[in-house]
């Protein structure tokens, strides 16, 4: 029979819509509205996994996100397989393939279960005490075995075809949890007109009301109240209701992170909808109404499949219409399990209840349950369970006030519902850095002092009675919306209260008992006792030594039990042992949701110039430079990098080349004090620079090291056109703004980034003037009227231009600044005009080679943040007369003026064909022992087509004193010999530039 454990009636599943999926290849039938766990239970499947360490058979413990044991691999189609899904939260749908994990060869027969026999050895921290000999065995033998045994499911191996979305939102009140408390809070806040977001991790809002079939609220059944409340909220435009949305992180200043599962529950193609959506909400106020978690009881073999949390048994019966067993024993130390027993009995199941409390410690729930015909054993402990892959019986015994056990009794059963009390879900409160305080009456840490604009309400605040939760929620919601509105609710009283017990008393030798505290990580009570015995007394130490609370459930069911056991061992109060600080996320969150669309082209913006499309059409190869994509070289035919660059380099020096320099940073420095400002920021003098003239500017950080460089033109008395390196533009502008605004606010200067406004076409080579002459109007291009390092304004192709006569190649050259929206047209016109002259487009690689032939540095290549102007031979740039500029004082520090600093030199290899590796190290003596004394390193190295040999630049200790000396440079094969030379390799007299 299909679904043999489906109850004949009841539950919120849609019995008209059957669905089926597979578990380990077996078809599982269920209904729309089932979780994978409820469908498995409906089919009588309890054994769903093997534990982490001992490979013990494990079942379903809970119905919610605190599930530690029932972890499945879920396959939603190609590339959509992922591990460690909690069966209790995965919504069942057609077509899912689910698999149990951590076993071989099969779930039923798992060789790894041998570990269970070795459990006396595999105690907490055993691995710190062994696996140390022989030493080499750790990497080669022990660790691979440990790793293979560890881990739970298998990581995905294919790229994920799903997409993920990201949304930012603001609201007045964010309500976390849509149980009775959260609903009341949302209602109260919404009534004020406040913008409300109500998020709940479940597929359906309602929380405990979804499985409360007996309570009434304001005279209506709870389910009816829920439906009416949801309808009310739904009708309000100021409310966003987010089901399937986990509030997982509470960050600074009420920045709260939510993850919404959008499509995993939908069968078939979901179009363009994302799989998950990350919400980053900035909330004015937050109401935390996330409920509470039930604690397991700690007794021997409390981990068998079929042993569930009591409330979860109730949930499966009432919400899903599934009997987790036909013969259920509830074991408890408190009142709430009585309600579960009632509901189980009402569903027609055979029920017994065992209560640790004595008769007199029980409340009215005891008489009511007995009146319903249920056998209740009070004053009893649980000493063990029977069964292997499914519980078959519970061993109980009366326990006296001295803790001694009486005669054992076996209660045959196929399901146990256990309840060890309740732990408020204070995770988000703790994440918000609020202070917790221990409340002895409720045996729980409760929110105490808030650190942010939030308030906790309901079970998350230690209130368990339904009417109290509703009133507290309503008050919290109203207060969050700055309203005085308060109201009370009438509701059926909730059976609450429990008597804390850390480990159930037993008549057996406790050192032989395995009573599990952390089900997933296989941490037992005796592991925790061992840790305490070994001196681990802070709860953080115990956690780390035993791994309790470190599993994928992050200790939701285990933390309080662990804490209680430690406190008991040390004979301290619970707060004396400390509570752990909760960290995000509340439940595991996919990387995909956190990443959203930020991949590939959206990982970082791609900046391109107006010339980019032209370069693409020409077949250019590109390189990434900062955010820019720049043309690297322009291969013709089958040319590789070297062939193309060799051709481009020759073409520039012999004819004319065209280069897109638009990525250079540009800053307009304007104002009456512009020259004074420049004077303070750069090492160079600026006051006397005439309008229409350019200067190579060098800028230091305050620590004296080179920050950036670039040509600066004085456009007019009060206006400078500053250029920066491609990667340095934002940094330089930030540097300038910082000094202008915070150090020298008295200067009347305005800074404007013009990087995007001006595109720069560099035309370099002896024929450059001839190419542009026909296109330029209003500028006398003759060498006399327009010398090197001059700037003129006019038009080119009818477009306004700032025309610079500058050169980064050592050739006659122009940098043509034109408005970016007309740059492509001007470029094409120049390129057409240059055809008769053999104009050749070149890329960044050729630019690098040509400047290296001339010994020009590139900031970031010859310099690395530890290099001074003198180090690279640019001390001459420094205006001696200036009393101060940024970085000047640091240049006088003892180590900066000391000898032995690395200085820029040229290197030529003995073998002219050998091109050194950039980054290669330089030594004077190859016979010295390791570690060797290194003199410096190669900063730039190329094949120079114009010199017909390789060339290199290097920073070498006292390099300028070593001219002509022989040194040795590392290569992949060993050392090679080089001679130290001046770093200007081509046209050392610099005549060509003035042509």
């Amino acid at each position: 029979m299909a679904q043999p454990f489906r109850l004949p009636r009841g539950g919120r599943v849609d019995r008209t819509r059957p669905i089926s999926f597979t578990f380990n290849g077996r078809t599982i039938e269920g209904f729309q509205g089932d979780s994978v766990a409820s469908a498995l239970l409906a089919n009588g499947v309890h054994l769903v996994g093997r534990s982490f360490k001992y490979h013990r058979p494990r079942g379903i413990l809970s119905h919610g996100s605190d599930e530690p044991s029932a972890l499945l691999s879920v396959d939603r189609g190609r590339g959509r397989i992922d591990p460690n899904n909690r069966a209790s939260v995965v919504e069942a749908r057609a077509g899912l393939k689910t698999q149990s994990q951590n076993h071989w060869p099969s779930l039923e027969f798992d060789v790894g279960a041998v570990n269970d026999l070795l459990s006396p050895v595999f105690v907490a921290g055993f691995y710190y005490k062994t696996f140390m000999w022989p030493r080499k065995f750790w990497d080669k033998v022990y660790e691979p075995i440990i790793r293979g045994a560890a881990g739970l499911g298998k990581a995905p191996v294919e790229a994920d075809p799903d997409r993920y979305a990201n949304r930012h939102a603001h609201c007045d009140v964010l309500v976390v949890g849509a149980g009775p408390t959260g609903l009341a809070a949302a209602l109260a806040a919404a009534k004020t007109g406040a913008r409300v977001i109500l998020a709940d991790e479940g597929p359906e809002p309602g929380g405990s009301l979804l499985h409360d079939v007996t309570s009434e609220i304001d005279g209506r059944p709870a389910a009816a109240w829920l439906a009416a409340t949801l309808a009310d909220l739904d009708a309000r435009e100021n409310v966003i209701l987010l089901p399937r949305t986990t509030v997982f992180g509470y960050y600074n200043h009420n920045h709260v992170a939510l993850t919404e599962r959008v499509t995993d529950h939908l069968p078939g193609a979901t179009g363009t909808a994302p799989r998950e959506r990350l919400w980053q909400v900035r909330a004015e106020q937050v109401v935390l109404a996330g409920g509470s978690h039930e604690r397991p009881l700690v007794f021997a073999d409390n981990d068998r499949p079929g042993i569930l949390l009591a409330e979860s048994v109730r949930v499966f019966i009432n919400r899903y219409g599934v009997a987790p067993g036909r013969r259920i024993v509830f074991a408890t130390n408190g009142a709430s399990a009585y309600t579960c027993a009632h509901d189980a009995k009402a569903a027609g199941l055979d029920v017994t209840l065992v209560d640790f409390r004595t008769e007199s410690e029980c409340g009215p729930e005891l008489g009511r349950l007995r009146a319903a015909g249920v056998e209740v054993l009070t004053g009893h402990t649980v000493v063990g369970s029977k069964g292997r892959k499914r519980v078959t019986g519970l061993l109980v015994a009366p326990v006296g006030s001295d803790g001694r056990c009486g005669g054992r009794r076996l209660l045959p059963c196929d399901c146990v519902g256990m309840s060890g009390g309740w732990t408020p879900a204070v995770h988000l409160f703790s994440q918000s850095r609020g202070k917790l305080a221990y409340d002895a009456a409720r045996d729980a840490f409760l929110p105490s002092v808030s650190a942010q604009a939030e308030r906790s309400a309901g079970a998350a605040n230690g209130a368990y009675d339904l009417a109290a939760c509703l009133a507290e929620g309503y008050a919290a919601g109203a207060a969050a919306a700055a309203s005085e509105d308060r109201r009370s609710f009438t509701a059926t009283p909730t059976a609450t209260g429990f008597k804390p017990v850390r480990i159930m008393p037993t008549d057996a030798d406790p050192t032989k008992q395995r009573a599990f505290v952390d089900f997933q990580n296989d941490v037992t009570a005796k592991d925790i006792k061992l840790a305490v015995r070994e001196g681990f007394q802070s709860i953080e130490h115990v956690k780390r030594y035993t791994t309790t609370g470190m599993a994928t459930d992050q200790g939701k069911t285990s933390n309080m039990n662990a804490l209680g056991i430690v406190a008991g061992q040390l004979d301290k109060s619970l707060p004396g042992v400390g509570t752990t600080t909760f960290r995000p996320p509340y439940t595991p969150v996919t990387f995909g949701a956190l990443v959203g669309p930020a991949r590939h082209a959206l990982f970082d913006p791609i900046r391109t110039t107006p010339i980019h499309e032209w370069a693409e059409r020409q077949g250019a190869k590109f390189e990434n430079v900062a955010l820019w994509r720049r043309a690297w070289y322009f291969p013709r035919g089958s040319e590789d990098l070297h062939a193309a660059v060799a051709r481009e380099c020759k073409a520039v020096r012999e004819g004319v080349g065209i280069f897109d320099a638009s990525t250079l940073g540009k800053i307009e420095v304007v104002g009456p004090d512009a020259a004074e400002f420049m004077n303070r920021l750069y090492v160079n003098p600026w006051l006397k620079l005439e309008p229409g003239r350019c200067r190579y500017g060098l800028m230091l950080k305050e620590d004296g090291y080179i920050l950036d460089d670039g040509v600066v033109a004085r456009v007019s008395q009060d206006c400078f056109h500053v250029t920066t390196t491609t990667g340095g533009a934002a940094r330089v502008l930030g540097h300038m703004e910082d000094y202008l605004q915070t150090e020298w606010p008295e200067l009347e200067v305005f800074l404007t980034s013009t990087t995007e406004q001006w595109s720069v076409i560099a035309l370099q080579g002896p024929k450059a003037r001839a190419v542009i002459a026909p296109l330029v109007d209003g500028i006398d291009l003759s060498p006399e009227a327009f010398p090197h390092m001059a700037m003129r304004t006019g038009t080119i192709c009818g477009v306004p231009t700032r025309l610079f006569r500058v050169s980064f190649t050592g050739e006659l050259g122009f940098e043509i600044n034109v408005p970016s929206d007309q740059a492509a047209a001007v470029w094409e016109a120049i390129f057409a005009e240059g055809q008769p002259h053999g104009i050749t487009p070149y890329g960044t690689e050729t630019m690098h080679v040509l400047r290296a032939e001339k010994g020009y540095i590139i900031v970031g290549q010859e310099t690395d943040g530890t290099v001074t102007p003198d180090d690279v031979g640019l001390a001459g740039m420094i205006a001696k007369a200036k009393k101060d500029f940024v970085g000047k004082r640091s240049l006088a520090r003892p180590d900066v003026v000391a000898t032995g600093r690395k200085q820029l030199v040229g290197l030529v290899t003995a073998d002219p064909k050998l091109v050194l590796d950039e980054g290669a190290q330089i030594v004077s003596d190859t016979n010295q022992p390791i570690p060797m004394r290194m003199l410096g390193h190669v900063t730039s190295s190329y094949w120079s087509p114009n010199c017909g040999r390789s060339i290199a630049m290097a920073l070498v200790a006292d390099g300028r004193l070593l001219m002509g000396n022989t040194l040795h440079v590392t290569t992949p094969e060993g050392f090679t010999t080089v001679t130290v030379v001046d770093p200007v390799f081509f046209d050392p007299k610099g005549e060509r530039i003035n042509a």
């Binding site: 790793r147 499911g153 990581a155 015995r533 290194m934």
Partner: protein, 417 residues
Amino acid sequence: MRRFSLSSLLSESLNGHKGWGRQWRDPQPKPAYDVVIVGGGGHGLATAYYLATVHGITNVAVLEKGWIGGGNTGRNTTIIRSNYLYDESAALYEHALKLWEGLSQELNYNVMFSQRGVLMLAHNLHDVQSFKRHVYANRLNGIDNEWLSKEECKEFCPPIDISGSLRYPVLGGALQRRAGTARHDAVAWGYARGADARGVDIIQNCEVKGIRRDASGAAIGVETTRGFIGANRIGVVAAGHTSTVMAMADVRMPLESYPLQALVSEPVKPVFPCVVMSNAVHAYISQSDKGELVIGAGTDQYTSYSQQGGLHITTHTLDAICEVFPQFTRMRMLRSWGGIVDVTPDRSPIIGKTPVKNLFVNCGWGTGGFKATPGSGHVFAHTLATGAPHAINAPFTLDRFRTGRLIDEAAAAAVAH
């Protein structure tokens, strides 16, 4: 000290493990010690251990305001490597790496030092140049490091996407095979147990509230929440809290304390064989013995003692992880946390004397302190024992900020530590 071994483990397993005693004592502080170490993290505990074992100084207390190893020692991503560029750093971290290689045996505590290799990926031509500079410099310093093509990177670490579809494609990488990871908590516990066995007092829940100085200005002890404790020499090893502790002796430090975040995924079967660092995209990742992917993020931009950073730092790191390892988008973040890292202007540590007589400091490890733990403790113990720096920590003075003799690895290579 009860020796750990397979046989002791087996014999205890027959005995319900009742025979294991405390791994370290819980002593009351004595009125005075030869050396008081402020800070019970890995560096402080290692310092105490080497004071006892190398220098025979056992009248030592380690004062910890919380629980040992609870600061950055227990919060880092456990990467260990020595492929630093400058001679000074290379010597320091290689000294540490050599000690790591025998540490489990030395301490009789399995710190799970795993030489899985650290691969640093190059994503642009500047990276390539910088990494080759490292490779060459390391080799001449006797440190293993080798350049791998992108195909070799893929072979060494199959999850890497070497296709051109990345925003910043992988161009190759530098691999130090001797580098790897270790179990961070075990390092603190192992040193604590070893030091304790030799007589060192490890005093937890003991916060230093003041540093007492005599008329000459010399430090003579510390005021603590458990009373005054005298000391001939005081070593401050307080990581992110160093500024606060040193201020008690009126010493102002070139330090700023930043939040640094890290996270782990849910545990999975072995899928990631080594450590990968990718500085261009700001991410580092390895897989722990337990199966979790361990992922380090960057620092926040503001100073803070909150041990909490912004979500945008975490998401940015995961952007990079999923960019380079696209198969991991369906993995889940299980736990995230923050530490407080003390950063110097040149990102290198300060290990040595201070202007106050008898007061020594070991700080400024920034984001990279864990890997140095044994070496740091070893040279700092030498400094405390002899009053003068070991040759290896001699360059790492406080005075270098005056002279300008900085050791700026980050500037030189744009490499995160």
